[in-house]
């Protein structure tokens, strides 16, 4: 009887996680739903181990694998979120629907606050561009570090962001 109770707990956790993964728009919240689902797998595997074949360690090994899957999911999910956010200023799943058939239907109005992350901090290090004599002794940026290069790079990122926001506006 306890086995069924544990499995019901696992089913409830799985369903809650499924609801979250399906309904949430933020990438991080989707990952929370996925974690709940993996957690349900952990509970179910542990209960199955104890109540069906406790002599064999297979159930415990399965729990170990599920724990690892959870850690990997978390690390890769945040890495992908960071890469996506850096490249396109996107943190909602609806704005990253490039592979879908239909046009992406993202576009949230109050999203401007995320723009231009870290740009100024990078530029502050270029103080030596104007007068290379001061840095003549050691390695300076004067020979190859032209500011236009950086300006163009930033500008390209910025225009890409705006373009994406622009075409994601309709819904």
């Amino acid at each position: 009887m306890m086995l069924e109770t544990y499995l019901l707990l696992a089913a409830a956790l799985f369903s809650v996680g499924l609801f979250g993964a399906l309904s949430q728009q933020s990438v991080v919240m989707v990952m929370m739903g996925l974690e709940l689902m993996v957690n349900a797998v952990i509970v179910a595997a542990a209960a199955l181990w104890l109540y069906t074949s406790p002599e064999r360690p297979d159930g415990q090994v399965l729990v170990l694998v599920a724990v690892t899957a959870m850690a990997v999911e978390m690390a890769m999910g945040f890495a992908v979120t960071t890469a996506l956010f850096r490249a396109r200023d996107v943190d909602m799943v609806d704005m990253a629907a490039d592979l879908a058939d239909h046009r992406g239907s993202g576009g949230h109005g109050g999203h401007g606050g995320h723009g231009d992350h870290g740009g100024h901090g990078d530029h502050s290090g270029h103080g030596g561009h104007g007068n290379p004599e001061h840095h003549g002794g050691h390695e300076d940026h004067g020979d190859q570090g032209d500011p236009e290069d950086h300006g163009g790079h930033r500008g390209h990122e910025g225009s890409g962001n705006h373009g994406h926001h622009g075409d994601g506006g309709e819904r």
């Binding site: 956790l13 069906t52 406790p54 945040f78």
Partner: protein, 187 residues
Amino acid sequence: MVGTVVFAVCAVGAVASGVAVFVVDSMARATFALLASFLLTGVAILLLGLSYLGVLVILMMVMEMMVMAVFMIMYMMNPAGLMPMTMVHNRAGSLAVSGVVFLLLAAGIVLVPWPEREGTPPPDPTLALGEAIMGRHMLVMMLVGLVLFATMVAATVLATHRGRYERYGDDLRRGRPDDPIGGGLDR
């Protein structure tokens, strides 16, 4: 008897805090609700006699949720929940799908004739697990190690802002790396 009561409290609490993750406004609160859900399920695993795996789950979840809270506050527009907002799509459809899935799983759980328990739990399940992953199940342990290492490398590569192509040019032929701040070794 005490175990049943503790399990009931943990099970109800775990599901309730799991639901709370997707109900509360604040992202920090959602993170800690998820942490509570994980801790309660960790206690439920401890009740099964899996002392090592239960403690492992609890410790890992505490650290993981701390990291997640940092990312939440970094990425969310509304980390403190000061203005109520919902960011969901297709709420009714998701509710329907997850409800149907739960009913299907519950029906299977109730209707399937589960096998009888064979044998008794070992006196030390942790010892059994250790002997398994260092003996007959060593392939699992090797694969897990490889996967974790690959994850570390891949996550670092994905999260790096300036890689070698930014520093040395698209053909990697730039003589000196183009860094925003000069200095450092070998330069």
